[in-house]
């Protein structure tokens, strides 16, 4: 079922959503499932923060910005989104690849 929704939208070579307007919460669930992540309320807190931040600044927030902005510790972010939280959240939230180094 989630495969269906993923095949209706375009992703770039690295797995980021090409057209931000295609994003829906259902799509986020499907992308997360593809990444092996089952979204919880805490995941959504991070996703919503990142989408809001990106809407304000036009850029995906960096890991530190997410940690400072949400108050969720670095440790927990790595548990929620293993192996690179900033990039994984950006993919799931339908945002561009984060550019900052920190």
């Amino acid at each position: 079922m989630s495969d269906d929704i993923l095949s209706t939208v375009a992703f770039d070579a690295e797995g980021y959503l090409v057209n931000p307007d295609d994003w829906t919460p259902e799509l986020a669930e499907a992308i997360a499932a593809r990444e092996g992540i089952q979204l919880t309320e805490k995941h959504w807190q991070v996703i919503n923060f990142c989408r809001q931040k990106a809407a304000e600044t036009g850029k995906s927030p960096t890991l530190r910005q997410i940690s400072v902005g949400t108050g969720i510790s670095t440790k927990e972010l790595f548990q929620l989104f293993p192996k690179g939280p900033a990039k994984r959240v950006a993919k799931i939230a339908g945002l561009k690849k984060p550019e900052g180094c920190i």
Binding site: L63, R64, S73, T74, G84, P85, K87, I102
Partner: protein
């Protein structure tokens, strides 16, 4: 699944500008899902010593890239090396770099190292240098483990090693 990519940094220098490369690249590696180990030896130990970690300095002598433009002056020319030995020049250069780093949202060393540890990086202090400098475990930030060079080699089997 195949073994995860692993990068190991060896920090042998303790000047402020030599602390950031491993921390920034290590952080980037963790953000890309790569395992990170950092080994601190010789002057690099200052980076993880509680007493010195947030007081690292940037002495301008020997850095050809130091320019007046960095000081916010309108004319961008190289700063003669002889100027670097004048009293206060190290403090000026250090303060300048700290300010620039802050503007780029780069956290202070102690906070940065905590972030790295929270993200899963392993930090080791070189036992021989620790002994040579008469230091003990208490001198280092929490989470640092004192290991021998041999232990470090064991722990980084298969890793990509970067010497700084």
């Amino acid at each position: 699944m195949s073994e995860n990519r692993h990068m190991a940094f060896i920090c042998s220098k303790g000047n402020l500008d030599m602390a950031y490369p491993a921390l920034i690249m290590g952080w980037a590696a963790l953000g890309n899902g790569v395992d990170v180990t950092i080994f601190f030896t010789f002057w690099g130990l200052d980076i993880i010593r509680k007493k010195t970690m947030d007081r690292l300095k940037l002495p301008p002598v020997g850095i050809a890239g130091m320019r007046t433009g960095m000081m916010g002056l309108p004319v961008d020319i190289g700063i003669p090396q002889i100027m670097g030995v004048l009293p206060g020049m190290t403090e000026v250069a250090t303060a300048l770099m700290r300010k620039k780093m802050e503007e780029l949202e780069v956290p202070p060393i102690s906070e940065f190292l905590q972030m790295l540890q929270d993200a899963g990086a392993k930090l080791y202090a070189c036992k021989m240098t620790v002994d040579m400098m008469g230091l003990t475990q208490d001198d280092f930030m929490d989470g640092v483990e004192i290991v021998t060079a041999g232990d470090f080699i064991d722990k980084t089997e298969g890793a990509q090693i970067i010497f700084i």
